[in-house]
């Protein structure tokens, strides 16, 4: 099977600070992989590099066989990489529906149609409602996004990413700031979407229930470098990971 993503020895420094240090790994279709690591380990930075928000100093990234290191975000996204953000990134003044709909339109390549009203774009609209429903946000569809609570905004962010039907979806701490209930829901939801759409998923999490609950593989980053890579069971019992990251259970 061809890998979707091959990351090979990428590096990134800010000033003198090495934030990503020769990271290499691959993702295969259908993977469900978690990245964990202490705060400041360089997880978000890694995502930023993968999505073209930052250019790596060295190394190569091949997405579906094409080199994308240093390519522009919008091109990478068009190729099929989607992302939701650690600090929620939505369109606060638009309605919840439109937040998702704009992504659907973009996916359907109808986002720059400029005469036909949005409501006439049935396919995008239906799809947006569908996604909102699956996230449990349909009751807010006419509300403006900024009126949602923190946790709901987080879900909306994921919804926007989902709408792009990405081949590889990156989620940066998808459940942070969510209540246990939503966490559970989101966890199930992600799992469901993953199997339903044959998604390939890479997510950053600090919630161990989530990591060990659904991930098939776990990558551990520490000080920019890949510390270990393995199945959840291997990671959970890895002494290095325990001291650097997990600590004793609360």
């Amino acid at each position: 099977m061809e890998p979707v993503l091959v990351v090979d020895g990428i590096e990134k420094s800010f000033g003198g600070l090495k934030v990503t240090d020769k990271v290499s790994f691959s993702m295969f279709p259908g993977d469900l992989t978690a990245i964990i690591g202490p705060n400041g380990a360089g997880k978000t930075t890694l995502f930023n590099i993968l999505t073209g928000h930052l250019a790596p100093d060295a190394g190569s990234i091949r997405f579906e066989g094409k080199e994308i290191a240093g390519a522009r975000t919008q091109d990478i996204v068009t190729m099929g990489m989607g992302r939701a953000f650690q600090i929620t990134s939505i369109f606060p003044e638009e309605t919840v529906l439109d937040n998702v709909r704009v992504a659907c339109l973009s996916k359907l390549r109808e986002a720059t149609v400029f005469i036909r009203p949005i409501s006439a774009h049935k396919r995008a609209t239906d799809r947006a409602y569908q996604i909102l429903e699956s996230l449990g946000l349909e009751k807010f569809s006419d509300r403006r996004a900024f009126e949602l609570s923190h946790g709901d905004q987080k879900l909306l962010d994921i919804g926007i990413a989902l709408a792009l039907e990405p081949k590889l979806l990156l989620l940066d701490e998808p459940t942070s700031g969510m209540s246990p209930e939503e966490r559970l829901l989101t966890r199930e939801l992600i799992k469901k979407l993953w199997s339903l759409f044959n998604l390939t998923l890479l997510f950053i999490e600090h919630d161990m229930d989530m990591v060990f609950g659904i991930a098939l593989k776990v990558l551990v980053l520490q000080q920019g470098a890949l510390l270990v890579e393995g199945t959840p069971e291997e990671i959970r019992s890895n002494p290095e990971v325990i001291t650097a990251y997990l600590g004793e259970e609360l």
Binding site: G40, S149, H150, E173, E181, E182, H206
Partner: protein, 234 residues
């Protein structure tokens, strides 16, 4: 132990949407109270109302036996209320040090200054000259807490402090809160991480759709599984 912070009958709105309904809350000196509730229950709004960032339309906020419902936030801060907002809001273009110095409130004395804060958060000391905006999510969270401590607040309000922190750091945060308790700092926090909340709190207030639906000591709350299920879905 006397009540240091008390809210009675808070009703708060955003524009025309009614968010808080007759919220009553009291925090006694030296204790740690945890506000729990689902997303959108109104935890953040409660903090905003207490701090005066969003003024409640009805109700009263008493702080140290003084009615300060309508006092502007800076007056409350000077009286000894400190807030760590859920979105952290560090000053991006400022260095870590400058961020911390902004937290100092002239005239307020206490155990916290740059040295003690750095002692508590060695990570921050390593990045004193970095710009706040370049910190990682978790680093920003620590900075925000440290900044609030710099003002030596009598009551520290933490809106979901463990969010985005890695498990080891959460443990450290737990220790920090316990040590703050020893320093007689009063703490009001909101949490979604139940285990963490249970580990640090003395009392729990559960809020749902803007209504306070449960109040009780932590030991009691532990046993209230139906409440936990109903409002927190654990």
């Amino acid at each position: 132990m006397g009540v240091i912070l008390e809210a009675t009958g808070l009703n708060t709105y955003y524009g025309r949407s009614h968010i808080l309904f007759d919220v009553n809350l009291d925090v006694r000196a030296g204790e740690t109270v945890c506000l729990m509730g689902r997303n959108g229950a109104g935890k953040t709004t409660t903090f905003r109302s207490l701090m005066g960032l969003t003024l409640p339309r009805e109700g009263r906020v008493m702080f140290r036996d003084r009615d300060c419902t309508r006092l502007p936030p800076y007056r409350k801060a000077r009286l000894g209320m400190g807030l760590v907002p859920e979105d952290r809001r560090v000053f991006g273009p400022f260095t870590v040090r400058e961020n911390l110095e902004m937290g100092r409130i002239p005239g307020r004395k206490g155990p916290w200054d740059l040295d003690t804060v750095f002692h508590q958060f060695p990570v921050l000391e390593r990045m004193v000259h970095r710009l706040g905006g370049t910190l990682s999510g978790g680093e920003q969270q620590m900075l925000a807490i440290a900044r609030a401590l710099m003002g030596n607040p009598d009551v520290l309000m933490l809106d979901e402090p463990s969010e985005g922190l890695s498990p080891v750091i959460v443990v450290r945060l737990k220790e920090l809160i316990l040590s703050l308790k020893e320093h007689k700092t009063t703490i009001l926090l909101s949490e979604q991480n139940i285990r963490f909340a249970m580990a640090v709190s003395d009392r729990v207030v559960v809020i749902d759709k803007g209504h306070v639906v449960y109040k009780g000591a932590i030991e009691e709350f532990r046993r209230e599984e139906s409440i936990q299920k109903r409002y927190l879905a654990v």
